[in-house]
């Protein structure tokens, strides 16, 4: 549970205090570090999204504040911090106030499992992937509660749509991950990456792995509530969906968590299919911290595909959404698991 990179700090702390106190201090330090990562990731991804959207739509995107407009999102965040937190009188006050924290807490918990490089991973348990799925499905609760507690018809419809969408697509994400764990033979994230040293899983598993990757990308887009699966927010129909009644930082929590969730899903894709922080063909294995670079490059690549989806495809109707999941993705997924199992059993992996 200790960051490998911080063994020095661990020893330093032990010089000054007892074991228990040092442990707690480390926990606090790691929590603070991850909160920082959370904020920076959110702001960077919002900037990236707006820039990329600009280029897709023949615009330039934010380019005024700071180099390449990098500080634009910081300015926006400052504005959101300074705004008043409004609420409705008839809202269920306690749920209404706590709902945003469900979303960010689960996003943070999921973030703790992500191995940024060989040295940097806060929490590496033997059921890592399983834990990741479980935790990220709790995040729905925050959106659902927000829709319910706001006491607003648009929020309620948005929240209900989340329920339908998440329950449906959780299945596909889960089964795509199961397909890959059949191949990997382990649930521990560090071991999954170790296995890929002689070839990424998308290469080892060839046909079923590619099918699983496509399903994972589709279902992952739905999991992070992004277009074309943004029925939850659906600006043109529902105002702003579940967060209609939220303002200031409460709104910003949802906004940041959405982008961090996208990062988490992209990271899972990178871990399961593209070898996590491993460099292609092991070219930079000897350089320390090269893993961080490769991990970032791969994740940004996957995130770019998500953004590409968003600025290309129009939004689904609710019936199309359910047809896609229950009539297409799920059966294909089930056949795919059997196919993968057969391939592993017969030793046809590359």
């Amino acid at each position: 549970m200790i960051l490998n990179i911080f063994t020095d700090i661990h020893n330093k702390l032990l010089e000054h205090m007892s074991g228990g106190a040092a442990h707690i201090t480390e926990l606090i330090l790691i929590a603070a570090a991850y909160l920082g990562i959370f904020a920076i990731l959110g702001l960077l991804l919002v900037w990236l999204e707006r820039r990329v959207a600009g280029f897709f739509q023949l615009r330039l995107g934010p380019n005024r504040v700071g180099p390449f407009g990098l500080f634009q999102t910081i300015a926006d965040a400052l504005k959101l911090v300074s705004k008043e937190l409004t609420g409705t009188v008839k809202a269920d006050s306690m749920l209404y106030r706590t709902a945003p924290y469900f979303v960010i807490t689960t996003a943070l918990m999921a973030l703790s499992l992500i191995p940024f490089s060989h040295e940097i991973q806060a929490f590496d348990i033997n059921i890592g992937v399983f834990f990741l799925i479980s935790v990220s499905s709790v995040g729905v609760l925050g959106i659902f509660l927000a829709g319910w507690a706001s006491n607003n018809k648009y929020s309620l419809i948005g929240g209900m749509r989340t329920g339908i969408q998440m329950i449906s697509y959780e299945l596909s994400v889960g089964m795509a991950i199961v397909t890959m764990t059949v191949l990997a033979g382990t649930l521990q994230i560090s071991e999954i990456i170790e296995i890929q040293k002689d070839g990424w899983l998308i290469w080892k598993g060839h046909i079923p792995a590619i099918i699983a990757f496509m399903i994972f990308m589709i279902a992952g887009t739905a999991e992070s509530n992004r277009t074309p699966f943004d029925l939850v927010e659906a600006e043109s129909e529902l105002g702003a969906g579940f967060h209609t009644e939220y303002s200031g930082m409460n709104f910003a929590y949802y906004f940041l968590a959405e982008f961090v969730n996208m990062f988490i899903i992209a990271s899972v894709a990178v871990i399961l299919f593209f070898g996590g922080w491993l460099s292609p063909f092991g070219i930079t294995d000897t350089i320390p911290f090269a893993g961080l670079f490769w991990f970032t490059v791969k994740v940004i690549g996957v995130i770019f595909i998500f953004m590409w989806f968003r600025w290309t495809f129009p939004r689904f109707r609710i019936d199309q959404l359910l047809t896609l999941e229950w009539k297409y993705l799920l059966p294909v997924n089930m056949v795919n698991i059997v196919l993968m199992a057969l391939i592993v059993w017969l030793g046809l992996t590359l």
Binding site: F55, F56, L58, L60, T312
Partner: protein
């Protein structure tokens, strides 16, 4: 079995869409060739408004400081909200001996104008037209009330009047 062909066709059309938007993205990322954004305060020297832009109503003057308005007040009558006041007067033309109208002041209230263009359509002489000036903000309302005929200008000789 349309089930499998649906999957294949669906994937194919999605990829077609992604190819088109992807082309936009990469062309703009590397060349900025098709970017339609105009970065306003930076390009102020080169910025040119398009032909049909409705900035404000202007009166056309030729190089001899002559306009075509004979103060018929058709534009004033056409204006739905009274943005135009035409002040004319009459005098005897020494050549023909006729008593004719001439323009003293063509007052235009830009602050009230809705840019509907009815005055320009109504003008029989094509004396007024759309100007392409887009710097129309002012700190004082009264600055937006303009006299369209330039000081000392006269009607084009030979025109009616």
């Amino acid at each position: 079995m349309s089930y499998f062909s649906d999957i294949i066709n669906g994937t194919k059309t999605l990829l077609t869409g992604m190819r088109i938007t992807g082309k936009y993205f990469f062309v703009n990322l590397f060349t900025r060739k098709d970017v339609i954004t105009r970065q306003y305060p930076d390009n102020i020297d080169t910025l040119k408004m398009f032909d049909r832009y409705r900035g404000e109503v202007i009166m056309l003057h030729n190089e001899n400081n002559e306009h075509k308005c004979d103060a018929c007040t058709l534009c004033e009558k056409a204006c739905p909200n009274g943005s135009i006041e035409v002040i004319g007067d009459k005098k005897i033309n020494p050549e023909t001996g006729k008593n004719v109208r001439f323009l003293v002041k063509h007052i235009y209230h830009l602050e009230m104008c809705t840019m509907c263009g009815l005055c320009i359509e109504a003008c029989p002489q094509n004396a007024i037209a759309w100007g392409q000036n887009y710097h129309n903000t002012a700190y004082d309302r009264s600055k937006l009330t303009k006299v369209l005929n330039k000081p000392g200008s006269k009607i084009v000789p030979g025109l009616k009047g």
